[in-house]
Symmetry: C2
Subunit: 350 residues, 2 copies
Amino acid sequence: VNLPRQGERGLLETIRRRFGDHAPPAPRGMGDDCAVVSPSAGGVLLTTDCLVEQEHFRREEPPYFLGRKALAVNLSDIAAMGGDPTGFLFTLALPRGVKRRYLDELIDGLASVSREHHVHLLGGDLSRSSGPLFISITILGRTGDRSARASLSRSGARAGHGIYVSGGLGGSAAGRMLLDAGWRPRLRNRSLIGITRPRPAPVDRIRHRSVMRAVRRHLDPSPRLALGHQLRAGRIASAAIDLSDGLSIDLARLAEASGVGANLIRPAIPIDDSVRACAGLGIEPLDLALHGGEDYELLFTVPPGKEKDLADLDAIPIGRVVSRRQGLTLQEAGGRRRALRVRGYDHLRR
Amino acid sequence: VNLPRQGERGLLETIRRRFGDHAPPAPRGMGDDCAVVSPSAGGVLLTTDCLVEQEHFRREEPPYFLGRKALAVNLSDIAAMGGDPTGFLFTLALPRGVKRRYLDELIDGLASVSREHHVHLLGGDLSRSSGPLFISITILGRTGDRSARASLSRSGARAGHGIYVSGGLGGSAAGRMLLDAGWRPRLRNRSLIGITRPRPAPVDRIRHRSVMRAVRRHLDPSPRLALGHQLRAGRIASAAIDLSDGLSIDLARLAEASGVGANLIRPAIPIDDSVRACAGLGIEPLDLALHGGEDYELLFTVPPGKEKDLADLDAIPIGRVVSRRQGLTLQEAGGRRRALRVRGYDHLRR
């Protein structure tokens, strides 16, 4: 916990002030070499994810949403395990050109998600970067039970279990494409109030409302913490993963960890309403839903006897777990199955 | 814990193999969205530190030692709290030009320190970087007692307590200067076996043995975990901090957190034997010891009644805690005190 050690005092004061009662109490916490956390009754969960400028975001994107997203994508990993987040550390490596205003907005974004999900700042590290801006976050969470096995994992899916997702897919990837095509969000008081068309204007008629929804899905994803908690605490799901890299690749990971195959029903795959905004960009909507990534919905499997418990939950059935031998397949409306192509975001392969 | 999700399979296999029984068991741990850690009996410690290329290291430095140092500097924060490390996460953002051989060496360095201190890899994140190489590490530790207050902190020093350091200072900064001046380590089987002079050769006669020691102090610091554990478990130290940024600035931080002043005895400050190697560079040895940084020794305070318990420990007395009103002073051999200049490494101020 080295914020004060390597940090500029003013920035630290900003952090303390903006996090309010979610900041670590001084001098403990942010002022010591480590954060001290009370022992947890259940298992301790730890996860880390970094966002690197040009790889995961661009400097012209609103820094308030960047701060929100940096914390949200980590919370999504806690959601996938059915855990409850308790605290987090964040590391910033800052290029020299970054303005104080930009940092304040970024920190406010972090602080807003921290308050929404009651996850306290425990500390972090500040450094310079001679290149891109780098944000790394580590989250500490817990599961309510004594046994560490009481958390969800990727490995519990068995043939016959139903496959579900928690919401529409492809919206975030559509938003990324639209931002890359020159659409620009208009903000007021940190709310997305409009969207500006690229110039020259696109020839296709694209509905601004769909563009705004796609851009919002990309810039400000919501971690599915409440759902993950219910799926674990109610012992409903047999396996879960969050959709960070794309349905096809994240399903392949869950299937591999569980030693199973999976059959997806093509017309059942929910495509986010916003994806129509990308029609003018020449992209097949299903491709965005299958391979787009960054939706941060949960993908989970449920044994047949538990499917009745899903009534009040966000759970859209999209297929069924099959034997490993059958592999990963996509079933057309007519019943014919073909192999599911697995594609998605792999940072080291681009 | 997203190594497999965003990572290249081959690199992950390397990581698993090189960490051996210190790697997380598959599919749990590295294969899930979070690491699951058994609940700790005592307080949970968390700390994070990042190393950024060009800020903290240069690409031409041996990657094996870079891996070792990345983990060691984080362990040093656990040592400063008197904790015992249990596990860690690491995040790498890799420029495209990094060779596989370089990464293997870096990972071997991490794995070697992981084995030496019984700290298990819990997971991490891999990404690309369009600029410098980033390494961010988060360590999880514990203190043996039920009460979180049983860890050491920066805030317990009181007027009258003795001030101690655990070893000679300035060696690491001397090593950095010598590397910058063109001296190059010669390695065989990852051991430093010699040193190559810069060309043109320096005019001063510099002892190669001192240069090697200084370079080793810089490239391969040793976290003072055993000492920190003893100072806490024996309830010997009233406050502690690790010397990452320099004696003067780290003492100022400890004094501020404790609400006290401090008087250092100038001739008592231990200057590392290697610092003489820098004589030819025109640097005052005491300046390196006071302001050099990266020594990763412990600085700690001890109440008078406990000083007898230091007999078998690495503890060099260098001064005494005074009232806050008296500030920070440096006392000459003759007894005269002058204000201690506080300078040191601040990543955001360079």
